[in-house]
Symmetry: C2
Subunit: 716 residues, 2 copies
């Protein structure tokens, strides 16, 4: 029902422009003009308080005066007049609005108040509105032809790419570039303040719209990232989503209470989010366009082996460099292919990959080379690089490239030399090939396509139930701590909490005197370690709050207490803990973001995390596959495999711990940060034991917005 | 004298085109046509065996028939006719040639033989020749106007940028793009096979040419990289050099005998080389052009603090992200500046950096904003981002940006929206501002400019003499080993060799029986370690060939020998070595490249080098400053400073060891690889001791080409 209203916003049967103006230098005029010039397939009614006609079309003083039904109204009146215009639309029965006018939340408190009233009005009438403070929407479907933007957008072609931009200015640039590159659009929307219609709303509609094959996003922030994950996971297997997310550094100011918290600052959440839902991240608008060309036009490659056909050496070398830098491979051609090439090409041509038909090789040579390379079983994708030599017929070469048989293998073209190559570039683009000027751009785009294909071939895994979890006991621990007003769980509670979800913890006792320490050591038996408990003590080992080589526990306790006092800490007690046999030291952590929910972190302990920042992140809840990939995506992964004669680690035990922590934090949104550091991991089959755990909680009564959706995802 | 001949090649008083053709579809015709159409300031003589005239100009059957002197001949006859044409030029007294014709080394053995004969002929007559297999040269100086290429290059403007390309195809692209971007060229050369004139030859000439302010290079390989370093070091303080080096991965096949050797594969040498001589490396042709625009047009910034002026939010966020990703800073504006901005701009404008004049802010606002930000003492450089809104006067805005007073602070412009912004983009470019479409491009270029400026502000340091070096003793060790036909020095010799240059080595004795091992341990006194000597044993500790915890040396020897036998190694003996107190384990290594000379490597030992590849490289000889930067440029550097409560390392001792190894390998080119692993480094003031050294040598009689130049650099 609501998604139908949004669909209708882009495909109205009639449109009113409230604020259509006679002044050709005004936005109100330009939009009205663009609707007419774009050939909208229905009536467009100008609404103007005073004018009898606008651009030769009969005008109405109010939307209420229009004698026919109006599906969508475009509102361009000054900010103070917006609310009454919206109210009139509501009374008229208009269901969809595009509010171009600025002067809302983005301008301060008065604007924010106006925006709140606007939201209420929209709810009251059940209207859906794009904006305010946006540059409008576009539907290139020939049955609709809606250009409700203030860009003329005359060159934009009809196609199957839909584009949402949070920035109007970038929207302008996008429409211009799309035209230049022959990228065909179905829909475009500039969302402005996203008061009523969000990116997620559009994704939900476009998921099932046959007019959309590819979705491009320019995002500055997320409204509901958890909902975004759900939608994107469902969409990306069928329709790639390419996104630019800017404002990477905006999060910098969050206060962090643990390594995990500090590491999770900045961009890690966004990377994890896109990775987990199969969204392709472009690093810039330029990359967005480069990628879009290949995703809208090329078939999926079967692997990473690339064949290059070129008529000049230098650019092929650059392409090869770029391939290897992006983990693609230079295909090794079969003897048969090379024989075929040798027969077809000039004697000076190079028949090994990259295949160089040389400058003297014309249209016939290039076509023969593409066909031979495409039919090679060792080749998954092709790049053809054409540098127009003097006096070679660009049209014939372009034809040859377009006509060459290549089965279903993707082919990307690269035309160097813009002026002299202009015609080949445009012929190939118009012929439907993803075409680039620089070899690096083609390779970058192909690499994104390969990654995307591989992503969707991998199993996504499942969020599995955790055996032996005791959620009620965990809730009780957390509630008691919240009730006491504590920010951090005390160490006993922290370890008991993770034990509730089946994470093994080293046997330990809490003590408050040297004598108790000695007794505890005796009762635990075997070697023990001593860890201080002191208010404000965060990095224990730095401050001398950890003794890993206890001989006499009472003596250790006394020394530690004295040392901490000297450093300004009051030692309230200590944990006496069974010393765990040596193993890999691992950090498993979680930082809760009020909007994104729990972000899990994994890395090797100590300097790997703190100096080298070698950490992988995923949003909870993890699937079993998420956990596997998370462990394998740190640089130091070979160490866990037993590189260089070191002992291998019990990797399934690490994955298990990650899944248990994921389940814990997903089920208990009052956990704000959690860090197991170290988790001591034995050799394969020997399991993993937490030596220390720290848990920070939200104050009672604060329930992060993301919690509900996290739970929902956990059961999906 | 020879450099004068090369200068004359670009500024001849008369030119002959040997192979000038009447067929308008031939290169011989095109070049002749381009010389005339380009307005060459002197006579151009067509040479054609049979034609009476070419393009209405009287032709000659041979260069010998031309009645006037000829400075330069362009040769475009078929390959088999090249040598006789060159011989005739020699007899005529022509001093400079541009040989366009292909069919030499690049086509196989016959071509290589022809090229060798060509080289001899050139030597015989003392001629200098560009090519063969090239696309020609260009001189845009209005006094010369030489277009001896087969590109029409009609749009290329005169300026002070010189460009050498090793690829003809990229040359074409380059000329096209230069025209598009308004990059003014003085010279362009496509060097082809570099038989006689190299990149270094041109650098030597352009170093003192007032027509050249900026040098761009596209390189696929180096002829004499050591000479390149010398030239580039002298040039870059005055004239920036920006280079694209492709073929990064070509070196992959070299056989390496140590960690250092393996790590030095690929691109490390090139990175080190450019870093050491202040050449700016562009990662692609696109980046080359982006960088060139700012280097040819902007003044040097005083620091990293960037002020942004924009008329739209989204692009400014993207610019901010890009700034921070490239280690630039968003300038913090003073209260005064913000007050000034508040007074000048619309009430909705944002007066903190990035300063957003908003879409409603016109030419006056943008100008006021630039002037206020430029006058802020906290701002070192400016980026102005302009997204042309509808109906705003692009000409007025462009004028305002160009006219805004900004002292000597660099200003880069960014115009989003190509179609609607086309005129602003071109007006700003023509007005002399480095102008980009995407904010990331502008930031990338500015970051390169900042890096370049900082590089040349830092001291370069000196190659200092090494105290207490015993070069004769080192030579004797190496000669004896070479004479014995050994590939690797035996462990005794290896440690003695590094001791000759003052590197401390742990006291050790070589033993061949368990009994000797026990005696050696007793004579060294204190704790010892035992290290196996066995043919073919490279990674000793992996194979159980190292015992760091010797209790009974005889017993250790027996066990080690048995273990190695089991693994297929025959233990010939062992080193008994004083156990060094714990410290940071460091790798200092060298891999000799026959062309580039010795490449030094530095990193923390063990997994840091082997798994994390956290290694820095420099070419020998090191200056004292090189050594300092080398140590500080690994990711793990904070560990040596004593991060997280660990002991700090004696960093001067590491630098000293690097300088000593640098001196050793520079003075003794027969060293092929060298690796000290580990060098055990104590706390500050406690020095560094090598625990193990391995040295590989070149076979007797092989003296790498680079050796002579390395020596020369060492004394400079």
């Amino acid at each position: 029902m609501t998604s139908e209203t949004i669909s209708r916003l882009f495909s109205p049967r009639s449109v009113a422009v409230i604020g259509a103006s006679r002044d050709p230098r005004s936005v109100g005029h330009q939009i009205f003009h663009n609707l007419l010039a774009g050939g909208f397939q229905g009536p467009v009614y100008p609404v103007n308080r005073t004018a009898r006609d606008v651009a030769s079309v009969r005008a109405y003083p109010s939307v209420l005066d229009i004698p026919d039904p109006v599906d969508v109204a475009i509102i361009v009146v000054p900010a103070p007049a917006v609310l009454s215009a919206v109210d009139e639309c509501g009374r008229k029965g208009v269901k969809g609005l595009v509010i171009i006018t600025a002067g809302f939340r983005e301008t301060g408190a008065d604007g924010a108040a106006r925006e709140a009233r606007l939201a209420d009005l929209l709810d009251k009438y059940g209207m859906r509105a794009i904006g305010p403070n946006c540059m409008g929407i576009l539907n290139k479907n020939p049955d609709v032809r809606l250009n409700a933007t203030f860009s003329p957008a005359t060159n934009v072609k009809h196609g199957k790419t839909a584009f949402v931009s949070q920035s109007g200015a970038l929207g302008m640039a996008i429409l211009d570039q799309a035209a230049d590159l022959g990228l065909g659009l179905s829909y475009f929307a500039s969302l402005g303040n996203k008061t009523n219609v969000s990116t997620n709303d559009l994704l939900a509609v476009w998921a099932d719209d046959p007019q959309v094959d590819l979705i491009l996003l320019y995002l500055e922030n997320f409204g509901n990232p958890r909902k975004f994950i759900q939608l994107a996971r469902a969409i990306t297997p069928n329709k790639p989503i390419i996104a630019v997310k800017s404002g990477r550094t905006a999060a910098g100011a969050r206060a962090a209470g643990s390594h995990t918290g500090a590491l999770a600052e900045g961009d890690a959440i966004i990377e994890a989010l896109f990775e987990q839902c199969g969204v392709i991240r472009a690093q810039s608008i330029q990359e967005l366009f480069e990628h879009a060309r290949v995703f809208s036009r090329a078939s999926a490659p079967r692997g990473r082996r690339v064949g290059i056909v070129t008529n000049s050496g230098g650019p092929a070398i650059m392409a090869t460099d770029a391939l290897l830098a992006r983990d693609l491979q230079l295909a090794e051609l079969t003897e048969e292919t090379m024989k075929r090439l040798r027969a077809a090409l000039l004697p000076e041509a190079s028949v090994a990959n990259p295949v160089d038909v040389i400058a003297g090789g014309g249209a016939t040579d290039i076509r023969a080379a593409i066909e031979a390379v495409a039919s090679d079983p060792n080749v998954d994708a092709l790049i053809v690089i054409y540098t127009p030599p003097v006096f070679v017929d660009d049209v014939a070469v372009s034809r040859a490239i377009l006509d060459a048989k290549r089965g279903d293998k993707p082919l990307l073209a690269c035309v160097l030399g813009k002026d002299s190559g202009g015609s080949a570039f445009h012929l190939l683009t118009e012929g439907g090939l993803p075409t680039y000027v620089f070899p690096e751009s083609a390779v970058r785009a192909l690499a994104a396509l390969v990654r995307h294909t591989e992503w969707h071939q991998r199993p996504t895994g499942h969020v599995l139930p955790i055996s032996g979890a005791r959620p009620d006991e965990a809730s009780a621990i957390l509630q008691r701590a919240q009730a006491s007003g504590a920010e951090w769980l005390d160490p006993d509670d922290a370890t008991r909490l993770i034990e509730c979800y089946g994470v093994s913890v080293a046997r330990s006792k809490r003590v408050t005197t040297p004598t108790e320490a000695a007794e505890a050591a005796a009762s635990i038996g075997g070697p023990v370690v001593l860890k201080a408990i002191a208010p404000g003590l965060v990095h224990k080992s730095d401050a001398g709050g950890v003794d890993l080589k206890v001989v006499d526990a009472a003596e250790s306790y006394r020394k530690m207490s004295a040392g901490l006092t000297e450093r300004g800490y009051a030692m309230e007690g200590a944990l006496v803990q069974a010393r765990i046999p040596r193993g890999h030291e691992i950090l498993v952590g979680m930082a809760g973001d009020p909007k994104f929910g729990p972000l899990l972190a994994f890395g090797l302990g100590g300097i790997f995390v703190e100096i080298l920042k070698d950490v992988s992140f995923r949003l909870a809840p993890l699937t079993d596959e998420d956990a596997k990939r998370m462990v394998r995506s740190i640089r130091a992964w070979p160490l866990l495999e037993g590189a260089r004669g070191n002992a291998a680690a019990d990797v399934p035990a690490i994955e298990d711990a990650l899944l248990r922590v994921s389940a814990l934090v997903s089920a208990h949104p009052s956990i704000r940060e959690l860090e197991i550091n170290p988790l001591i991991v034995g050799e394969p089959g020997h399991g993993a034991v937490a030596a220390d755990a720290r848990v920070r909680i939200w104050p009672a009564g604060i329930m992060p917005r993301a919690a509900a959706v996290t739970r929902e995802l956990a059961t999906h």
